[in-house]
Each structure stands twice: as C-alpha cells, then as structure tokens.
C-alpha cells in the first residue's frame, strides 16, 4: 500500500492533529456533553487510519506498527478492569466509589471519566489494528503473470 500525492500528505499533516484532539476531547468530556468512550475511540481510530492511508506502508511499519496497536489495546482493557476491581473498595465489584462532585464539571461522577479513558484507548487501538490488518495488503499484478491475487498482509 503506497502513500498518496504530496498534496494529501501536507493536508494530512495539518488535519490529523485536530482529529486526534477532537477524539480526545470527546473521550474526556464524555460525562458532560454527548459522546463518551465509544464515540471518541472510533474517532481516534478514524484519524489514525487517515494518517496510515496517506503516508503509506513504510509509515505503518516504522511508527504506527501493529505491535503498538496491540499493546495499546491491552493497556486500555487492563485500565478498565483495574477500575472495576478497585470498586471492591466501595463494597461490591464495580461500584462507583470516588466522590461525585458538582454535576456538570469536568471532575465529577466518580470513576466514570477513568473508565471512559480506558474504553476510548481500547476501542481506538483495537479498531485501528483491525483496519491495518484489513487494508494493508499489496495490490496485485494484473494481466498475464502467473501469480494471481495473493493477498499478503504484513502482520
């Protein structure tokens, strides 16, 4: 999978930062405005997919590799499970044990922002990894050659 023309690369350099910032905003403010962990995670995956599509396979092999996606996926899942197990401090598995502050501010609602962060990282990295596995196959050589349509994806 090769990259695209220099116009696309330059515009991606400008725009991709804003997309990732927007995704992070929706994850962190999920308990105040519409959005949350799932929405922000999918937006993050979309922004990272844009970067990989514009810059080609060698970027996906050096910077945003498959190992990074798998590690981030597992870290997000572990953070979510940590929040769940720490709920034992409140008595039962998965209670909301931190204090709920004033409704509508950023620091409120107990463990909900931390769980949102875990879910956002997990969904974003997982869906980006799946996109990398599905879309990163080589274009085939057409017409007349003997090897036909063998898709190899470099996982």
């Amino acid at each position: 999978m090769q990259g695209m023309s220099p116009i696309v690369k330059n515009i991606t350099r400008v725009v991709a930062g804003f997309i990732v910032l927007f995704g992070a905003y929706i994850v962190l403010y999920g308990h105040v405005t519409p959005g949350g962990g799932f929405t922000g995670g999918v937006i993050l995956a979309g922004g990272l997919a844009l970067v990989v599509l514009a810059f080609g396979e060698e970027f996906a092999r050096k910077v945003l590799t498959h190992e990074v996606a798998k590690t981030a996926d597992s870290m997000g899942a572990l953070l979510f499970l940590l929040v769940a197990v720490l709920g034992f401090a409140g008595g039962v598995f998965f209670t909301n044990f931190l204090p709920t502050g004033t409704v509508g501010s950023l620091v409120s609602a107990g463990t909900i922002p931390i769980a949102n962060l875990g879910i956002g990282i997990k969904v974003g990295a997982g869906l980006f990894g799946v996109f990398l596995a599905l879309a990163a196959f080589r274009r085939t050589t057409a017409g007349g050659k003997k090897e036909v349509d063998v898709l190899q994806s470099d996982i």
């Binding site: 105040v32 949350g36 709920t100 409704v103 609602a109 997990k122 003997k146």
Partner: protein, 223 residues
Amino acid sequence: MDPILWILLALLGFMLIGSLIAIETRDLLSSVICVGAVGFGTSLVFLLLGAPDLAITQVVVEILVLVVLVRVVITRRDETHATSRSTLPVGAVLLSLGVMAAVVFGTLATGGAEDDLRLHPFGQPRMTQQVEAAVLAPAGRPDLAPAGTEPASIGGAFLKHGLTADESSRGSGAANYVMGVLLDYRAYDTLGEATVIFVAVIGAYAVLRKVGRSRHAGHESDR
C-alpha cells in the same frame, strides 16, 4: 408530533429504497455505496429522535465500514460484475419471510397474554405510565412501602432518581444520562461489550495472519 413523524417516515422510506437497491443491483461497488446511504439515513433518524451520541457514533462507524468495504471490492480483478442470482426460489423465500414478519409484528402490536409484552404506540413508551410506588416494597413488609407514584419502567426511574444521591441509590453524578447508565447503572454490559470487541479483533488477526498460508500458483479457469 406531526412534523417529526412525517420527516421520520420520509427518512425510513428513503432507507428502504436504498436497501432494496443495495440488495438487487449487479454492480458490487454501487451496492456498497447504497449501504453507506442507508447508514447515513440511520444517523439522521437518530439525530431526529434525540440521540446525539448515537448519531456521532453511527456516522464515524459508517465511514470506517465504507472505507474497508470499498477497499475489498475495488482490488478484485474484474469481479465487480459478479452474478448474484439467488440459490433458493425468490418467491418462496419472500413469502415465508413475509409471513414470519407479519406474525411477529402482529403479536407484538396487539399484545400477548399480558400488557407488558405490547409494543406501545410510537411516542408514548411505557415510562409515561405511572404505577403505585407501593409495589416497590420488600416482600412481606408492606409498612416499608414508599409513597407516591413511580414511572413504570427502569428508564423513567433512572431519569427520576439516578443523578443525585437519595435513599434509593448512590447517584451517578454524570450530566450525560446515557454515560451514567452505561458506566454506573449497567456497567457489566459495558464489560461484556469490551470483551466482545476484543474477541472479534483477535479473530480478525487470527484469520489474516501470515503463518500457515501457502502461495497458490494460480487458478486456471477464471469462470
């Protein structure tokens, strides 16, 4: 309610026509694009019905699905006009599916044995009805019954009591009620959903690995 109902019916009709085109057309690329149109129509319906989280999620998910499907369909060497005739007779399948849908919808709409199974009319869900709060008393202790009336479903009860702490709940404290439901009231469902996504992603990796694949030297007949 009237303008919203008419706009909703127009959008649903548009989605139905788009899905019929997506199923019946011979060109694979146009069928994938029609599915994209159905997805965007769904997102507009979510926005119309007062669900902004769902609308944002549906739009972004639809974009990612379209990118993956178009990528799969386009790199096939002249397979984009593949025949798609049915395996079973079309009339029999449509008749049986129509009968099943009519029976299911009729049962849901007119109510089975009890009133609880009935599909309520559009715009008046079950939580607009009120029940006596005395039904919430613990079994055998009618003196502990709370007073007043409560909404008849858990959605209404969560809207009334779920935000701040009172004698019945700790309160979630989240201004976004949907996130409060997802991560405080029904957090187990979110844990299950995280597990399902994890398993699906690992399944996709396992299918597409390089280990255990052999390079086919080519297929002689191209049909």
